[in-house]
């Protein structure tokens, strides 16, 4: 089970406000860092904690910070990535809604460690109601001397500003986010140069996810060493998992890394099992971009070990039989879910969200959507399935930013694990035209003795 680190106080009434937050130990970490620790010591603690980026890539935060160009005489920036748009992910929103000061605290300490005096929170425009909450929290922190000039009487000054996006998934990619923050189209930049050298306004910049930054405060409080004792192996600490789909208790859960997937899905403390007493069919465990896995492979690895909620365990088997922890957007599908329709749905998403800058992504996402639309609507051909695999392969790795990969992986993995379902759609156009969700006849066929799909949890 493990303890909570981020959400310990979330149920306390009024914790969103400064006074209650402060009364429960809030801003102690800022005091500790700014008064007792040097810039280097804060960095060392974050390094020691083993904290990895919670936005999806899982890159070690301390290492990312160490890349920041400190020799440049330009101002440095910290940008908080609150453009949470990955389908299935709603943890940052939850965190900002209930614990805005935890994020502010993390921003102050991180800015101190990075030598930053201006920090922007780039939040997706749809979260308009959170803009007010964050602005209020910033005002409160300023009133109490935790923001502004000479914080706590030290020489350190910091301003935090909230900047709304306006509806573009691609702005979650850090360089697209910076472009958008500069008032431009959200076109990802060509790398190198990396933001650590040339980021916002051409200045050295660090971009971190909301959850990552919110974790910095607790790390300073408890010490990096103590934080790293949580979790398992290189997946240290806790992770916010946003669970949704066909489960009894959708919501945001803080889990200690290393929790068995099976426990997470079926324990009453977390998802509480599959809704309507149905069977588990498949899971996308890290937001829509990561490979989908059928029930047997999400619960156990091919080696027969129990699969755990950690970066390493979920990736066990690479893309042949594994997936990724990603952003922690945990989407559960029950026996009635139509994998083809869901895959088509997701390709529609990526087609709509591609910025259109580079050719493989611009053309490829649209092409995959068209092919999948045909298959799902009873106009597919057998050769379309292999064509999809080929198109996905031609996109993967050949694009400017990871959106191309994010669009290709769901398609490739769905076909890899549920090819029969695609074939069924081609063979039975009349059936699939009318039944979208819960293709019952299809299930009956797949569940037959020679189904060969390996979905043993049915």
């Amino acid at each position: 089970m493990g303890g909570k680190i981020l959400l310990t106080n979330i149920d306390i009434p009024g914790i969103r406000g400064f006074d209650v937050y402060r009364a429960h130990g809030g801003y102690a970490a800022v005091e500790k860092a700014l008064r007792e620790m040097s810039v280097a010591e804060v960095g060392t603690e974050v390094n020691r904690s083993g904290l990895r980026g919670r936005g999806g890539a899982g890159f070690p935060t301390g290492l990312k910070w160490s890349f920041l160009d400190r020799k440049s005489d330009k101002p440095r920036y910290l940008v908080c990535n609150a453009d949470e748009s990955e389908p299935g992910t709603f943890k940052d929103r939850y965190l900002m809604q209930h614990l805005p000061h935890l994020l502010i605290e993390g921003l102050i300490i991180s800015s101190y460690a990075l030598g930053v005096n201006t920090c922007y929170i780039y939040i997706r425009g749809e979260f308009k109601y959170l803009v007010g909450i964050l602005e209020k929290a910033i005002r409160e922190a300023r009133q109490h001397g935790f923001l502004g000039e000479r914080i706590l009487g030290t020489g350190f000054s910091l301003n935090i500003y909230v900047h709304p996006g306006a509806g573009a998934y691609i702005c979650g990619e850090e360089t697209a986010l910076l472009e958008s923050l500069e008032g431009k189209r959200g076109n990802p930049r060509i790398k190198p140069p990396f933001p650590a050298f040339k980021g916002l306004y051409g200045c050295p910049t660090v971009v971190n996810n909301v959850e990552t930054l919110a974790t910095v405060g607790p790390i300073i409080n408890m010490g990096g060493e103590a934080y790293s004792k949580y979790g398992r192996g290189k997946s240290t600490g806790t992770k916010l998992i946003s669970a949704c789909g066909n489960i009894n208790k959708p919501g945001v859960y803080e889990i200690e890394m290393g929790l068995p997937v099976e426990d997470f899905i079926f324990s009453p403390e977390y998802c509480g099992g599959i809704s309507n007493d149905k069977y588990l069919k498949a899971v996308i465990p890290g937001g829509s971009s990561v490979p989908i896995l059928p029930a047997d492979l999400i619960l156990n690895t091919v080696k027969g070990e129990k699969r755990l909620m950690s970066y390493e365990s979920l990736a066990d088997g690479d893309f042949v039989s594994g997936t990724m922890l990603g952003s922690g957007g945990f989407i559960v599908f029950d026996e009635d879910a139509c994998i083809v329709r869901n895959t088509w749905n997701l390709t529609h998403f990526y087609r709509h969200e591609s910025c259109g800058q580079c050719s493989p992504c611009r053309e490829g996402t649209g092409w995959m959507e068209k092919i999948l639309y045909r298959i799902e609507h009873g106009q597919g051909k057998m050769s379309d399935i292999d064509l999809l695999v080929r198109v996905a392969k031609n996109i993967e790795g050949n694009t400017i930013c990871p959106l191309g990969d994010a669009a290709a992986w769901p398609v490739a993995s769905a076909i890899r694990h549920f090819r029969r379902e695609f074939e069924y759609h081609v063979k039975h156009p009349e059936v699939v035209k009318n039944i979208h969700h819960g293709a019952i006849e299809l299930n009956a066929e797949l569940m037959g003795p020679d189904s060969g799909t390996g979905i043993k949890y049915w």
Binding site: G356, P360, R362, E363, G364, N398, I400
Partner: protein
């Protein structure tokens, strides 16, 4: 810095890109570039046709790079080993890119003014497949004017952004840009009646396909029937050094002078390009060099020997009758 590309070593300056190194070697080693334009700051990285494999990152770090990289925007390291045509992976990826670029392209070369000098045609010839795998309808945009003299066929556009950079960097007020996003992105002025700028005509020269064409030359002639000649005039706005495309003694169109990589040597002004079509406007310097492989080289001679033919005997024809 020493770099090896397709087993050929070359020495380049610090900060060069792989593509620049390859261009220094020249020939087949040079990856095709549809969006990069050395004279336009910020261009490149978008079309992905110049993807290459880095088999060895540097002398210090002999590991290969995990993915193919865009040669136009990847700086070289000392001791880097690059594979272009020698890597089957690169060829495969490039074929895929060409397929993507042609996916929504109308393939209207028979009625396109760019045919014969189109980078996408050349690329398809080099890396394209014989048949298309798509059975879906292609995107269709209306044809619009960008100013008085430029036609925009968005259907043919590959969104290289070159024209946007050109307008940004050459004119004082950019009037067109990339609008919308994803596979419905388009180059447009957004509002009707946008007027042009003195250097706007250069977008025609930088366009790698037939998306932006010269309205003063539209449908006048196939480019391979014309002879490109170096010509110059006194011009207050630009260098006045152009390529005049001639048929007999008539000038059909004026363009910038393009180098071996298809880039103009100097940008020219709209007056030279659109308004000076009379032979008396120009001093003709002589024929331009055209690669033998180009379709434009048909009937094109760099020099004409002195005419030496036997003259018929005077009055001979009359005698016969």
């Amino acid at each position: 810095m020493k770099v090896t590309i397709d087993n050929i070593q070359v020495e380049v300056e610090d900060g060069s890109t792989i593509l620049q190194a390859a261009r220094k070697i020249g020939g087949k080693v040079v990856p095709p570039a549809m969006c990069y334009y050395s004279k336009l700051k910020g261009s490149g990285g978008k079309c992905r046709t110049c993807l290459v494999k880095v088999a060895q990152s540097s002398a210090k770090d002999p590991r290969p790079m995990p993915k193919l990289v865009a040669s136009c925007s990847t700086p070289v390291q000392d001791g880097m080993v690059v594979q272009n045509l020698t890597s089957p992976e690169v060829i495969e990826a490039r074929k895929g890119i060409v397929e993507f670029l042609l996916l929504n392209h109308p393939l209207d070369c028979p009625v396109c003014d760019q045919a014969g000098e189109c980078d996408l045609q050349d690329l398809s010839f080099g890396f394209g497949m014989e048949e298309t795998a798509t059975e879906d309808e292609r995107r269709e945009y209306p044809v619009i004017d960008i100013g008085d003299n430029i036609k925009l066929h968005m259907n043919r556009c590959i969104l290289c952004y070159r024209c946007v950079y050109t307008a940004d960097q050459l004119t004082d007020k950019r009037l067109h840009g990339v609008l919308y996003r994803g596979d419905v992105s388009e180059i447009s002025t957004f509002i009707s009646n946008a007027v042009t700028n003195e250097f706007s005509g250069n977008v025609i020269d930088v366009c790698p396909v037939g998306a932006l064409t010269d309205k003063t030359f539209r449908f006048k002639s196939r480019v391979w029937f014309l002879k490109p000649m170096n010509a110059h005039r006194e011009c207050t706005k630009c260098s006045g050094k152009v390529a005049a495309w001639m048929f007999g003694n008539e000038i059909y169109r004026i363009t910038g002078r393009k180098d071996q990589f298809g880039e103009v040597e100097e940008f020219i002004c709209n007056e030279c390009r659109f308004d000076k079509k009379s032979i008396s406007d120009w001093v003709i310097d002589g024929p331009r060099h055209i690669k033998r492989q180009s379709v434009i080289s048909a009937n094109h001679y760099e020099e004409l020997k002195k005419q030496s033919v036997i003259k018929p005997i005077e009055g001979f024809m009359e005698k016969q009758e």
